[in-house]
Symmetry: C2
Subunit: 312 residues, 2 copies
């Protein structure tokens, strides 16, 4: 039975199928499966490797942060950030801002000083905003059944959290924890990817459709989220020595295979993912006494694992 | 006009009243007020001082973290945590756990070792759970109009974020950023306040009604949220030297006035707070191009400021 055959089944039916092999003597029949059990029972086809051409390595002294880019939602920004990366724009720049329960942001500390600012060679400094895009029948969409405070529909597309408005025919990436966007000034088209931010707190969904999201952190998030907060306005660091230097940012495809971090992402268009969502709506762990029976988009984990079998 | 007179007015009417004095030449008439403008126009009666008898100072080497307790929702846990604090239970213990996008937790590293564990003198080790309480007509409730994924009604009570279910007649504190709860083992009644946690990521609302919340951090949150994440399971630190020591935890009432941090909280049962909520549903800052027109409970700021006039 192929994974796609599961798609029209109810969650309950999927659980019956998936849990079959897991129901040992220790598991009472009425108990929902846990996420760990569901992932353990997943099939290799439930996972997809990261595309090296759409993966960035942000290397800090403390280690690597890995960002998956979302060309389906921000094609121009993704192309421009890759162009910036490939001309070495970010190398030696720094994390400039860490605002509690909000964002960590990196870029050029001298951006406002024409003499000292990092030069851009072939990439663009600013681009037209890509706040949303048209819903396309070929665009995958796995809908979350529990609704959302901010948007008519939410779910996942290409394994990114998204919202949709069927009336306007638009869809957009949403500001969940770990999502990466292109900072901008007041004009909508003043961003371009030279200054990037990542969400480190409760999903600031009021930013949706106000700024171009272009990817998400899939590994190393804790290296950004645990940085000391800046004491200046909006969490900017007040002294240069408080900033965290960026060693390099590279497109994974440009990195020798021996230095790559091979990861794979759980596909959100699979029965395994639907079972995972259900396992978070109703928790099977003994600790839980009350089942929410619902879940909010930003609380659904998007599992990542080392590519299997490991290639080195 | 007393603050309470505003209560039945619509948001729009409140804004017209509050914005009157703020509408200078720089502000186009159609522009919603910003939070900064609303706070600047607030009245002294919109604020209440923290009650020193229900305020904890968690002092770290890096500085002070201030927690407001919620006796209306967890009376036994609040009383027990204060009893623990007053017998010096937490002094010299440590932060044991920092799990990314989830919680930071502190308590006794030797809790599982009867020989070495910190002794409890008069306080209790465990208590009956206080996961929710009955709705009481005298309990204040300011309702958020925008709904919620997890609960039939959400809003604020005594300036804490809460949910309510009129059908069951129950209300409970919710797991927003900065909320503080009493860790427990699998049995519901196995907590008591000897091990406390604070939410440092996206509101894990599936914990609501599963664990006793008893307060919230009102200042110094960044000292906890930016701690390095633990590399062990569930973010526990693997080596003792990775833990952050706790100097002391004290009830503010027991601290000499000269060493107190005098803060006040914006009352959520005021017209000023309702205007603030509206200012976050529809943002007046020039940067915003798209108005959400809605807001989620955990995205509404609960303003805190130094007590005015300062008493030292």
């Amino acid at each position: 039975m192929a994974a796609s055959d599961y798609r029209l089944l109810t969650f309950a039916a999927i659980l019956l199928i998936l849990n079959g092999p897991l129901r040992g003597a220790d598991l009472p029949k009425s108990k929902p499966a846990t996420m760990a059990e569901i992932l353990a029972a997943s099939h290799p086809g439930d996972w997809r490797p990261l595309d090296p051409e759409n993966t960035l390595y942000l290397d800090l002294v403390a280690g690597r942060v890995i960002i998956e880019l979302a060309p389906a939602f921000a094609p121009s920004h993704v192309a421009n950030v890759k162009a910036l990366v490939r001309e070495g724009y970010f190398d030696g720049l720094a994390v400039l801002r860490s605002q509690d329960n909000y964002v960590v942001q990196w870029g050029d500390p001298d951006a406002e000083n024409p003499q000292a600012a990092r030069k851009i060679r072939n990439a663009k400094k600013t681009l037209a905003a890509e706040f949303d895009r048209s819903i396309d029948p070929t665009l995958p969409f796995t809908r979350l059944p529990d609704g959302d405070v901010y948007a008519p529909e939410v779910g996942w597309s290409f394994d990114f959290p998204v919202a949709r408005d069927p009336k306007s025919g638009k869809t957009w990436l949403v500001h969940s924890y770990g999502m990466v966007g292109a900072g901008r000034d007041n004009p909508a088209d003043s961003g371009g990817g030279t200054e990037l931010y990542v969400i480190i707190g409760h999903a600031p969904r009021h930013l949706d459709r106000n700024v171009t999201l272009l990817g998400r952190v899939v590994q190393g998030m804790e290296r950004l989220s645990s940085m000391p907060r800046g004491a200046g306005a909006m969490g900017f660091y007040e002294k240069p020595e408080q900033r965290t230097p960026i060693k390099t940012v590279r497109v994974a495809a440009d990195v020798p295979p021996s230095d790559r971090t091979e990861l794979e992402v759980l596909r959100t268009d699979t029965a395994t993912f639907q079972a995972l969502v259900e396992s978070r709506r109703n928790r099977g762990e003994e600790w839980f006494k009350h089942q929410a029976g619902r879940i909010e988009l930003s609380n659904v984990p998007l599992p990542i694992r080392a590519k299997s079998p490991p290639n080195r």
